[in-house]
């Protein structure tokens, strides 16, 4: 009899894997984006099972928004007739080969280095916050710079585009 936890884990991971498979195979780009959302929600479920409630919500918050952006973007950039031709390229066999190789290697590594496993306690948001802001202050500020760079980059690129018109 498998435990409830394990059952939930399998449900969540089937969401993740199923979503992932759809993302990489589906022809319709918008479907791929929806599949990505499913995979992300599945990941949130995985986070939950690992006692990271806050992270699960973060996952929903950020990817729920980000996926919308991707969809918008896919809508904006793709023509409906492109759905047929644009998805897979000629490297497909190579890609299959490469990913299977990587998968095998990783599997082998996982199986061969059996790790002891034991549960730990959930982390509260307060602990997380204290840790984040006290011990990781510098990376935190750097993160803000990274975001700033992304922001400015996006703004600049878009603005050029504006002038182009």
């Amino acid at each position: 009899m498998i435990s409830t936890d394990l059952l939930l884990f399998f449900i969540a991971s089937s969401l993740v894997v199923g979503g992932g498979v759809l993302v990489v195979t589906v022809k319709n780009i918008v479907y791929a984006a929806f599949a990505l959302l499913v995979a992300m929600l599945g990941t949130a479920g995985i986070f939950l099972l690992a006692f990271a409630d806050f992270l699960a919500l973060v996952q929903i918050l950020i990817y729920g928004g980000a996926v919308v952006v991707v969809i918008l973007f896919a809508l904006m950039l793709t023509r409906i007739e492109d759905f047929k031709g644009l998805t897979d390229n000629s490297q497909k066999p190579l890609a299959v080969l490469a990913s299977i190789t990587v998968l095998t290697i990783m599997m082998y590594a996982i199986v061969s280095t059996a790790m002891p496993s034991s549960k730990s306690d959930p982390v509260s948001m307060i602990d997380l916050g204290v840790n984040l802001f006290q011990d990781w202050a510098i990376p935190f500020e750097v993160a803000s710079l990274v975001l700033l760079v992304a922001l400015i980059g996006a703004v600049v690129l878009v603005r050029q585009d504006d002038e182009g018109r």
Binding site: L48, F51, D53, F54, A56, L57, V58, L61, I62, G65, A66, V68, V69, L72, F73, L75, M76, L77, T78, R79, I80, E81, P122, S124, M125, I126, L128, G129, V130, L132, F133, Q134, A137, F140, E141, A143, S144, L145, L147, L148, A150, L151, I152, A154, V155, V156, V158, R159, D161, D162
Partner: protein, 121 residues
Amino acid sequence: MYDVNWTAVIVVAIVGVLAALGMFLASRIISPRRPSELKDTPYECGIPASPYNWSQIQIRYYVFAILFIIFDVEAVFLFPWAMVFLKDFVSAAVFYEMLIFMAILFFGVIYGWKKGVLQWK
């Protein structure tokens, strides 16, 4: 206890889906159906729909969406911060850290503002 009762969440979600499906199913069974070819065409103010492609670049929405992602991430940091910065066991630096963080990000918005991406002209 900083956690969420996920059982409740999942159950509510299931109930929501089931309720909607129930309504669709009921409607499927008891609503009259009279399919016709014209009924199947998209509504376009009474003119037969013309084909179109999706290639629409609405760059404006995109800028706002990017801004949204960035600020979403910021919100992720802000919530734990709001909960801890007043606690006695954290140092005062935590407070100023976030001010700097916000200042840096806000600089980005001001930059975009000055560059005119918040304007639609």
